[in-house]
């Protein structure tokens, strides 16, 4: 039998991580819009990612769901084209425009062929700057969103998220579903949508990433054509909100065989100097993969779940450190106990030298694999700008990971992990858990 000689040899070679070989250009249009571009000419199409900071948290009091509904209507008719004509036009160009919304941003992901790029961009410009908000489209999309709201109300995965957010954020927009309620949606008028559009899609908050077969000169022209008709400023961003939790369990009774839980407490901001050590720490505690401590203890050793994860959630106006697990109703209590123990253990003792080395090798090696296509690259470019990172970040990021020491992790573990604040919200019929 052949022994794994080459395996050992490979293990010794891993010290030199792959470099992300991408060349990012910063493009500023004559009109003053900035974008980051990776020009990649081998496939004749372009991925363009636009992001407007703010998103659903811009909803005005009493208008919950307005920004979400507005975004849902951007592809339902624009300029001279009604809903059907707009769709037919996009189809005949084989262009795709995805309009999405989160707590902190409206995202527009476009993909179009070089051969009809002018027509595709003209259509996208109309969608962004001249949405029609026809009443029949408003009514139809409202009905679709209400259908989603009703389904979400019966979905344990969604219920647990809303219950946790409501507990932590209360009346802040982060504390409720971005769709709004059936009542708040019903009350929204066409004027509300026009207001939401002006408030959310403004030039003072737009970030742009592009990747594919387009030059910097072409992109500069495109940026102005797309965005020049938007207002200069929009709605004031939402207020910052403190996160305060106490160790404990909140049970939301729901008749399902498997309980679903979200757990967590305050997190750490993206621009905090300790964010990188915290990121590495979390990779070891509950990041993806079977080797993380939570996965090892809850799944691999005890078979209590199919998946358990933890993740940092640095939002614009608050930071959370969250995790998720689901276990059968008669086993969730044990899963929660194991997670609590691991949380405390890591807060007290940090990680081992070996764990840190493995995490570093993984994170630095996996980083270049993220840049696998024009779509993902455009996404990363826009994300970096929203995080206020420098354009050379892709070349310095791995060095930041490499520089983290065991002492850094230990210090940050004590700071970031808060067993005394670790709260579980459980949706299901859990046994042996008291709220």
């Amino acid at each position: 039998m052949k022994v794994f000689g080459s395996l050992i040899a490979f293990m010794l070679l891993v010290a030199a991580p792959l470099r992300a070989e991408i060349d990012i250009a910063e493009v500023t249009s004559p009109g003053g819009v900035t974008a980051w571009l990776v020009q990649e000419e081998s496939i004749p199409f372009v991925a363009l990612e636009l992001r407007f900071k703010g998103g659903a948290s811009l909803d005005l009091p009493g208008k919950r769901g307005a920004t979400n509904l507005m975004v849902g209507l951007l592809e339902e008719g624009a300029g001279d084209l009604d809903s059907r004509a707009f769709s037919e036009r996009a189809e005949s160009l084989a262009a795709s425009f995805d309009f999405d919304i989160g707590d902190d941003a409206v995202s527009i992901s476009a993909r179009f062929l070089v051969e009809n790029q002018d027509e595709a961009l003209a259509l996208l410009r109309d969608a962004i700057t001249q949405p029609r908000f026809d009443q029949d489209a408003i009514d139809r999309v409202k009905a679709q969103i209400v259908s989603v709201v009703r389904s979400d109300a019966q979905d344990p995965d969604n219920l647990v998220g809303v219950a946790f957010d409501t507990m932590v954020f209360g009346d802040h927009p982060y504390g409720s579903a971005i769709e709004g309620t059936e009542d708040s949606i019903a009350a929204l008028t066409r004027d509300d949508l026009i207001e939401a559009h002006k408030g959310a899609l403004a030039r003072d908050r737009v970030y742009v990433g592009a990747a594919g077969d387009i030059s910097a000169e072409e992109l500069a022209v495109v940026l102005d054509k797309l965005l020049v008709d938007l207002p200069e400023t929009g709605t004031l961003q939402a207020a910052a909100v403190d996160v305060s939790t106490e160790a404990g369990v909140t049970v939301v009774p729901f008749d399902v065989p498997q309980s679903v839980a979200i757990f967590g407490h305050e997190g750490i901001a993206r621009d905090d100097p300790d964010f990188f050590p915290a990121f590495v720490l979390n990779e070891i505690l509950g990041g993806g993969g079977f080797e993380a401590r939570l996965m090892e203890e809850v799944r691999e050793k005890r078979g209590l779940t199919y998946g358990v994860y933890s993740y940092l959630v640095p939002k614009d106006h608050a930071s959370l450190y969250l995790g998720r697990v689901s276990s059968a109703n008669d086993r969730i209590a044990e899963a929660i106990k194991v997670i609590r123990d691991e949380w405390s253990k890591m807060a007290e003792t940090g990680v081992t030298e070996e764990e840190l080395e493995v995490a570093k090798t993984y994170l630095t090696g996996a980083y270049p694999l993220r840049f696998d296509g024009n779509g993902p690259i455009a996404n990363i470019l826009v994300g970096m700008q929203m995080d206020d990172l420098p354009v050379d970040y892709v070349n310095t990021r791995n060095a930041k990971i490499e520089a983290i020491t065991l002492d850094d992790i230990k210090r940050v573990a004590a700071r970031v992990l808060k067993p005394e604040a670790l709260h579980f919200v459980v949706v299901g019929q859990p046994e042996g858990l008291d709220s």
């Binding site: 037919e88 062929l113 070089v114 008749d255 078979g303």
Partner: protein, 447 residues
């Protein structure tokens, strides 16, 4: 130069072939002496690679009574060999900056890693090792059985839509194993043991039942040399059975099922018809059905949504679906999610009425042109993801197709006429082959 071509292209929008290289230029195939198929897809934009081994064995190849064993075994392949401790496979991938996972379907089981291209040899070495040498402890694997039961809880038991799907599929197939869920029936999963897993492993895991797919920053000859080094020495399984499953008898009666669950917020009606799949060298009917699904329900401007969502406003969502990638007979489906105030019985009648009208009026040529142009464009867009290309070849080659079939498919789609689509529709819409399912909230039943 490049700009001139682009401008020229814009003038002849729908008629001209797009100017990109096609996937065929990037694909090389081999077969090792032991029968293992090798597909190499070159993409030199980033120094990364995806390495996949696909077995021509899925849940539909299981023996009766041990449903879920194919998927259980997939989990157990991470639990160690003579040389690797439990979990060490994934740890090694991770320590080399890669990610790994696996998945099981009706017709295949696949294992993959994404990693720096210079680690390909190591991935092959480990993957070749676990093709034959897993070493499992009878008691230890019971923990993993708990994991797959929690996986079933998460995917199926907690979701009435998934339970409904299981019931519909069981009703659709009278004899063929597609009627059994991939993850397994719970009452059989709880009894799966080491012997069941090993019996499946020994029967199906061998090089002459496997397809190696490597996509990324590699050269075909280098991949071949590495494959010969690592997979080449594994002997073929001479006792590999021919892949024949129990087949469907003539279906003679429509099945109608009604599934109620208090967790259902949005009732809907769905009907599936037994339908032919893509067969090697014979893909025209499947291509016509693919286009039929697009014409009826593939986008906002297709027939069912236009009529029911936009014009009549009697549906929240209406659509059609079909995937021809399957070893044996698949299904063609239509669905209608009614607007408030419309009953499921009415929703079914609406759906049938719109389809009957469509059979009278036929295919809108302008719509078909748009669909065909989008399909041509997808041949450009798809080049952006070597991952999904790798998946396409792996799935096709384990579902009874060849590389030539995969390459022929886009041309066949373009050659389909409105008449072909209507003919395929007339053949597939046979209620004797159909399962009509109502998903209801529990309250509705008691009314």
């Amino acid at each position: 130069m490049r700009r001139l071509i682009a401008l020229a292209g814009a003038c002849v929008l729908a008629a001209a072939p797009l100017r990109a290289d096609t996937i065929e230029d990037q694909v090389t195939t081999f077969q090792l002496e032991n029968g293992m198929d090798v597909v190499v897809i070159e993409d030199h934009r980033a120094p990364a690679v995806v390495h996949m081994v696909w077995y021509r064995a899925g849940s539909a190849d299981e023996q009766p009574g041990v449903s879920g064993v194919a998927h259980f075994l997939e989990h157990l392949l991470f639990k160690g060999t003579e040389k690797l401790a439990p979990g060490e496979f994934s740890e090694t991938v991770k320590a080399n900056g890669g990610t790994d996972n696996a998945f099981t379907s009706f017709d295949y089981t696949a294992y993959f890693q994404r990693i720096a291209a210079d680690r390909l040899g190591l991935m092959m070495e480990m993957e070749a090792d676990r093709m034959k040498n897993i070493q499992l402890d009878r008691e230890d694997i019971l923990t993993e059985r708990d994991v797959i039961i929690e996986e079933r809880n998460q995917r199926v038991e907690n979701d009435p839509g998934s339970l409904f799907r299981e019931q519909r599929m069981a009703a659709q197939y009278l004899n063929h194993p597609y009627g059994t869920p991939i993850i397994g029936w719970r009452h059989e999963m709880v009894n799966l043991d080491l012997d069941d897993a090993l019996a499946y492993y020994r029967q199906f895991y061998s090089p002459n039942n496997a397809v190696l797919v490597v996509a990324g920053d590699v050269l075909p000859d280098d991949v071949l040399a590495l494959a010969q080094e690592h997979y080449g020495p594994i002997p073929r399984n001479e006792a590999l059975p021919e892949r024949v499953r129990p087949s469907e008898p003539p279906q003679m009666a429509e099945r109608r099922i009604s599934f109620s669950d208090p967790r259902v917020a949005q009732p809907y009606v769905m009907r599936t018809y037994l339908a032919p799949e893509r067969d090697s060298g014979d893909q025209r009917t499947a291509a016509a059905l693919t286009l039929l699904a697009e014409v009826l329900g593939g986008s906002q401007t297709s027939v069912l949504p236009q009529k029911l969502q936009f014009e009549e406003k009697r549906a929240v969502y209406a659509g059609a679906f079909y995937s021809g990638l399957s070893l044996d007979d698949t299904t063609f489906g239509v669905v209608n999610v009614p607007a408030q105030g419309v009953t499921l019985e009415e929703a079914e009648a609406d759906m049938d009425r719109v389809i009957a009208d469509f059979m009278e009026t036929g295919v809108d040529p302008a719509q078909l042109d748009r669909i065909k142009f989008q399909l041509r464009a997808s041949q450009v867009y798809e080049l952006d993801s070597s991952n999904s290309l790798a998946n396409r070849y792996g799935a096709a080659l384990t579902s009874g197709l060849t590389v030539e079939d995969v390459h022929e498919w886009p041309r066949i789609l373009q050659s389909i006429t409105p008449e072909d689509i209507l003919t395929a529709a007339q053949e597939v819409f046979d209620r004797k082959n159909a399962v009509t399912g109502f998903l209801r909230t529990a309250e509705e039943v008691t009314q």
